[in-house]
Amino acid sequence: MTTPAGDRTVSLREVGPARRGTREDEVVVAVSPAFAGHFTKTIVDVPHAEVLRQLLAGIEEQGVTARVIRVRDTADLAAIAHLGAKLSGSGIAVGVLSRGTTMLHQKDLPRLSNLELFPQSPLLDAEVFRKIGSNAAQYAKGESPEPVPTRNDQMARPRWQAKAALLHLKEFECIEADRGPVEVEPAFELSPA
Amino acid sequence: MTQSTPTTPLGPSDYPLSVNRPELLRTPTGKPLSDLTMDAVVSGELTGDDLRIAPETLQLQAQLADASDRPQLASNFRRAAEMTAIPDAEVLEMYNALRPRASSKEQLLAIAERLEGHYGAAESGVVVREAAEVYERRNLLARPEQD
């Protein structure tokens, strides 16, 4: 790779309770309790710093602003994404779990529904996260993006199914019941190559 | 119905009925098994109703299940015999009503009453009544809209 840089890390600094946004041109990225905290990478070792950077880049490239919130009282992806959507000025949110599973949600949809769902966490890489961010922003602008193509791999089951279950359980351990969502500021740091 | 009822309960040696006791079998339209021929199909004499199971036949299969020490299977066949009278769409409707948080207790009891009263489906009614009671205890009845 020609990129001269080394690996990036991210820390999420809490800046106060998450509030409903007022800008119509914003997308909320809602992360799960253990994202970029207890965990640092997805099930296939994509660093959370990269997940977040690409999601935010996809949104920014479309000229839309983004806010990041951490949901603390549930590890249910639909609940996280839906809460994000309700706090989003545009009504659009990206929800993401530590293991990488991602969902696009809109505030008027029933919680159990979604705009786009990416259930196969082992198949999500930086490029896909960029496209997900980009689509979220396009929905926020009222455009009609092509849904991000989802991939499928029959052999993902033997390789990843149990680890996914384990990560899911670990994420549940990090739930802090009765603590509301909090707005966070991502601070990316470049570790020396 | 013209179905002849055997005087003594059936036992394992009567199975399969289609081979050993065809004389006991009738379609819901009253035809014997031997009428279900290719000629009858081609001439248009047979309709879809001729290829359904009759409630009496399900009762016979229930006897066989009982005689094979399968009381739960037998009960299922008896409930099925009751349900042959319920139209397809209503069967699916009732099934959907039994899903968690889909119905209030009153709605479930109304279904039970319809089963018992309208269809004479006493055993099926019992299942729905039991569901109503358990759903109430386990908080699985329909709730007012919430987020």
């Binding site: 390789r159 199914q161 359980l169 | 394992p12 199971i53 349900m83 699916l92 899903r99």
Partner: protein, 569 residues
């Protein structure tokens, strides 16, 4: 992948390690146990201790819980699955004694059932926990409901091409599957593909039963119309919260079971170890304990059988220590409570061919009602159930293992000329039937391609729009199995028409509703009633011998003893 370690500190690997590292088995995932959360196969100190208490003819305590604390699974099992009359006596028998009964040839299947119908989930777990894999197999050999083992196949197409589904069903039926199952990529294709499956199956071998896995309403409708013959994808779960997440309860599923029977349609439930922990709500119980709750729930609902063996969650127990032993045990439990058991081996399980084979031994060697509840009768790339543990590439291996071990896994080697004949005939029958019913045409090129094809890539592309319209018209015009019979008869496929009519006629008798029922090539219903498992030790029960053994001795290449310069077959 993630070589974050600086080069200098990386340890040098041996050549052998590199070779082992590259073995397919190392592409599989393995995780450590976490019993507190239920990430454990079957040995967990967090599982309940067995107990039962009956008052006034009602179970008031189950596995350490009083009735007031019952969740709906406890309630359903206590009310419907456990025999109140005998439970206290059965529960008083020490677990090791029951475990020994399971493997003791002097104790009949009936004697075991007399005890097992009074056992609670925790007690059953306690019993099977005492058994190693060989003992589990011994138990399965005796407790399987039907004496004669059988197998089930999948016939699907990555393009939902009905012609492919038909010809692969015909080949599968000819090779020996007693049941064939299909499902769709594009759901609206269902009517055409279900018809194709039915026609192909009846061409290959009259009396094969078919089903199309769909959401409940459409699956039931296709069954009621006589286009399919049985149903299987009725899922149940071992904890209340996961059951509710699946939008069902034991009562809704029990109601559905009666609904199927009321239409004369054979049906079984589906469950399996690992599904609850996979969905994050195992309530701290082992996978096998929760699966035993499913099995007893199915028993209580009065459904005749169960598809289990982890099924679509096989990657979870597969990654745990002793996980495949637990999967073998869940099949045994289904059989020991007198349910038909379609025993899994139906989902992509491992990158390693050795693991795939080993995983199937506890079902193949003792025999089950259906050794695979979906051996892929198409190449796995066409398998719309996300791939099976075995596919068409494995046919010859499977046949050879049957011959090596002298066990009946339900399949046989068939000469290519017979296979080509069946495939050609299935394609032509479908061509004639579609033309007769004014459904989208099947061209001669397609028939030709279908006869010699392996995967969906070998077929001409179909006009999907026309097919979908045709599929819709099947529903709109209310076509039934009877219309298929008429069409086949009118177009000169008399034998296929007769086969299908005979299958439809079975619905009137209800004989296929009994436990473990299949149809023999002579259209005789074979179930746990007239083909009850009578295993009583060496020399008894089902033995692979006589004509069937002669069939299974045949392989693609066997050198002739009379003239070693030639092959027999």
């Amino acid at each position: 992948m993630t070589s974050t370690q600086p080069e200098a500190f990386r340890r040098r690997s041996s050549r052998r390690t590199e070779i082992l590292e590259d073995r397919p088995v190392n592409l599989d995932g393995f995780v450590e146990e976490w019993p507190e959360k239920g990430l454990v196969a079957m040995e967990s100190e967090f599982d309940p201790r067995p107990s039962v208490r009956v008052e006034d003819g009602r179970i008031v305590e189950l596995d350490g819980k009083g009735r007031g604390a019952f969740d709906f699974m406890d309630t359903f099992i206590a009310n419907h699955a456990i025999d109140v009359e005998t439970t206290e006596a059965s529960m008083a028998i020490p677990s090791d004694e029951i475990a020994r009964m399971l493997i003791d040839p002097n104790v009949s299947r009936r004697d075991v059932l007399a005890v097992s119908r009074g056992l609670t989930p925790a007690k059953i777990l306690d019993v099977v926990k005492l058994m190693n894999v060989v003992e589990i197999m011994q138990g399965m050999q005796k407790m399987r409901a039907r004496r004669t083992p059988a197998n089930q196949g999948h016939s699907t197409s990555a393009r939902d091409n009905p012609i492919q589904v038909a010809v692969d069903a015909a080949e599968g039926a000819l090779r020996g599957f007693a049941e064939l199952e299909t499902t769709l990529g594009v759901l609206r294709y269902a009517p055409l593909v279900a018809i194709a499956l039915q026609i192909g199956a009846q061409v290959g071998r009259g009396g094969v039963l078919t089903q199309c896995a769909l959401e409940e309403a459409t699956e039931l409708e296709l069954g009621m119309r006589g286009i399919t013959a049985y149903a299987e994808t009725i899922s149940i779960y071992g904890t209340e919260s996961v059951f509710v997440d699946g939008d069902d309860t034991p009562w809704s599923k029990a109601f559905l079971a009666s609904a199927y029977a009321s239409r004369g349609i054979k049906m079984r439930f589906t469950s399996g170890t690992g599904s609850e922990v996979q969905m994050g709500n195992a309530e701290g119980k082992s996978m096998l304990y929760l699966e035993i709750r499913c099995i007893l729930m199915a028993k209580g609902a009065g459904v005749q059988g169960l598809q289990n063996g982890s099924i679509s969650c096989i990657g979870v127990p597969g990654a745990m220590p002793g996980g495949i032993r637990a999967v073998a045990a869940e099949n045994l439990v289904a059989s020991m409570v007198d349910l038909e058991c379609a025993s899994g081996n139906d989902q992509s399980f491992s990158h390693s061919a050795m693991r795939r084979t080993a995983r199937a031994m506890p079902q193949l060697l003792p025999g089950t009602d259906f050794v695979c509840s979906g051996y892929s009768g198409v190449p796995n790339l066409d398998n719309m159930f996300a791939g099976s543990n075995f596919d068409t590439d494995d046919y010859d291996d499977w046949n050879t293992i049957q011959r090596d071990m002298q066990v009946d896994g339900g399949l046989r080697h068939v000469r290519e000329d017979e296979i080509l004949e069946a495939r050609d005939k299935a394609a032509r029958a479908l061509q004639a039937l579609f033309a007769h019913l004014d459904l989208p045409a099947v061209t001669d090129d397609e028939v030709e391609a279908a006869t010699y094809a392996n995967s969906s890539n070998d077929y001409p592309l179909r006009d999907v729009l026309a097919d979908l319209k045709g599929a819709q018209s099947v529903m709109d015009r209310g076509l039934t199995g009877l219309d298929l019979v008429k069409g086949l008869e009118a177009t000169g496929f008399h034998d296929v028409a007769e086969n299908l009519l005979t299958v439809l006629r079975q619905r009137v008798s209800g004989d296929l509703l009994q436990t473990s029922a299949i149809l023999t090539p002579d259209f005789v219903p074979l179930s746990a009633i007239n083909d009850a498992n009578d295993y009583a030790g060496p020399g008894t029960g089902y033995r692979l011998q006589g004509e069937r053994w002669e069939q299974l001795k045949k392989l693609r290449h066997v050198t002739s003893a009379t003239n070693p310069e030639t092959e027999v077959g």
